[in-house]
């Protein structure tokens, strides 16, 4: 399993994913720093500099908005790196001599999954903390619980990655990544819709939202992340939209949802390993 995992990490680095991610992260960090530096020095139309509270509240909202976009990057990244790993590589002949070695298919899938979860975790942490450091340096703002937020984003990416890997047992790379990303998108949309249920006390919409979060827990992890990034004064503010929409929550999903997500990932990967063990090469 360790040999498979190390080879997978090498593959990610050699396939130019890593250099591309490093270059993009560096670029985005520079742009983030420049953007927040400019924000801290903004003036209103009548020439008054923005007040401390205005800078802080705008920064807090933009950090959440940036995290929202980053969650899409992570979801797409998780789907794209996991999608070709099983079916596509098997059909191209790449895996035939590997699977003919004295290793079990379960340990093969476990090695691949472990490596990708570590890679996407490192990428999430490095990129997120570089952005937050740039924000801290230029505006002095630090969100309330950055580590918990990054952890939740990592889990969000892992959910998409695990789903993409499971789909890739039978489906080609394009179909696997498309379905995994679509599931993420639908979960996000249902999350937005369910926020209307919370705002208008509609039990059915709330139930649909909970069911969606149980089926594909990416939206739950996003809501967990956003709660960790929100200053207390902004809870439910949502950039002026109140509790509607994806940028603010009044209360986070219960902690049991985190354990549900961990179990969900474990079950999906177990199913993937089992299905791959039965798949003909």
């Amino acid at each position: 399993m360790l040999t498979i995992a190390l080879d997978t990490i090498r593959e990610v680095s050699r396939r130019k994913f890593a250099p591309a991610a490093i270059a993009l992260t560096a670029l985005v960090t520079i742009l983030t720093g420049w953007g927040f530096w400019s924000l801290a020095r903004l003036h209103t139309a009548n020439g008054r500099p923005l007040s401390f509270v205005e800078v802080r509240s705008t920064t807090a909202f933009l950090v959440i908005f940036g995290a929202f976009l980053f969650s899409f990057v992570l979801a797409f990244g998780g789907a794209i790196i996991s999608a070709p790993l099983l079916s596509t590589d098997l059909e191209s002949g790449l895996l035939l001599p590997v699977l003919a070695r004295p290793i079990s298919r379960v340990s093969f899938v476990a090695g691949k999954a472990a490596a990708l979860i570590v890679v996407i975790g490192i990428y999430s942490a490095v990129t997120a903390f570089l952005q937050l450091f740039a924000v801290r340096l230029t505006t002095g703002y630090v969100p309330p619980h950055p580590f918990a937020a990054v952890g939740a984003l990592w889990m969000l990416a892992t959910v998409v990655l695990a789903f993409g890997l499971a789909l890739s047992v039978q489906l080609p790379a394009l179909a696997s990544s498309l379905i995994a990303v679509t599931a993420f998108g639908v979960s996000w949309m249902v999350g937005v819709v369910s926020s209307f249920g919370i705002a208008y006390h509609n039990a059915m919409l709330i139930r649909v939202g909970i069911l969606s979060q149980l089926l594909v827990p990416t939206d739950a992890m996003w809501r967990f992340a956003v709660y960790q990034l929100e200053p207390v004064a902004m809870l439910g503010h949502n950039g002026g939209f109140g509790p509607l929409g994806p940028f603010s929550v009044v209360s986070p999903p219960p902690i049991a949802m985190v354990w549900w997500t961990v179990a969900w990932i474990a079950v999906v990967l177990t199913v993937a390993a089992g299905a791959f063990s039965r798949r003909d090469a």
């Binding site: 040999t3 498979i4 080879d7 090498r10 593959e11 050699r14 396939r15 191209s92 002949g93 790449l94 035939l96 001599p97 590997v98 699977l99 003919a100 070695r101 004295p102 290793i103 079990s104 039965r278 003909d280 090469a281």
Partner: protein, 307 residues
Amino acid sequence: MHSNKAAIDSLQLTKAYRSNDPPAVADLTLKIEAGCVFGFLGPNGAGKTTVLKMLLGLTRPSSGKALLFGRPIDRPHSRERVGYLPELFRYPPWLTPREVLDYHAALAGVPHAGRMTEIERVLSMVGLASRAADRTGTFSKGMQQRLGLAVALLGHPRLVFLDEPTSALDPLGRVDVRDIVRGLRDESTTVFINSHLLTEVEQLCDRVAFFRKGRIVADGSIDGIVGSSRGVRIKLDTQANGVATNALRAFGQVRIDGDTIALSEITTAQVPDAVAALVARGMRIRAVIPLSRTLEQRFLELMDDKC
């Protein structure tokens, strides 16, 4: 099941991809002793690769059993010290041959201490030592097949499966592969060659099986399959005449055509005596050519739909 000492021992191994279709492999019962170079012959689509993939645990049999050196094929440890060159060979283009081999050596359990020596050994065997640091993405098909062969030979396997091992190689490469297989035979390694290149199989294999529509239709030594010699053709350096006919009549039926004598029904053991009889009568001999059926002729007979 037969004995658990055979390199390969299968009992009624069957694979049906769809329940309504005829099986790709039907009731394959096959025993290959350790040290044998076995040729598995058949036309495209006969099911040869499916057999090989089942034996390697890559494809699940629908029914039946098989053992590699006494170990059930559904267990990963049955593939310890087993090498495999797939027909569809492809290696990560972002790795060098040395890295590919290091990865496979780790998976195959080659001890870390002697790993580099082993990698260099197989690289030089297949003629890739000078390209060991280049990315495999820059390799031609032939070089990739050589790398595949090196992967299959890692760790001194006791059983090697070669699926169409020379399909991408030039004539020089084919000679190299023949030499490698002969070397494996000298080391008592069992070699299972899937091929439809009959000349190669004829030169290399101790035993062959003809496979057609998922079933073995003939199995045995090449002599056993092809049949015994049907005579010889003797070429003289002058025109043959009645003296030659008289000298050879005792050995079989004689037919003369210019400088060539066709001598049928002679046994292999009698050939030196027949040649001596001609030489004793002052004739000079340029060539003695056995008149036997080739493996190709036998293959065509067995694969004929009317058979």
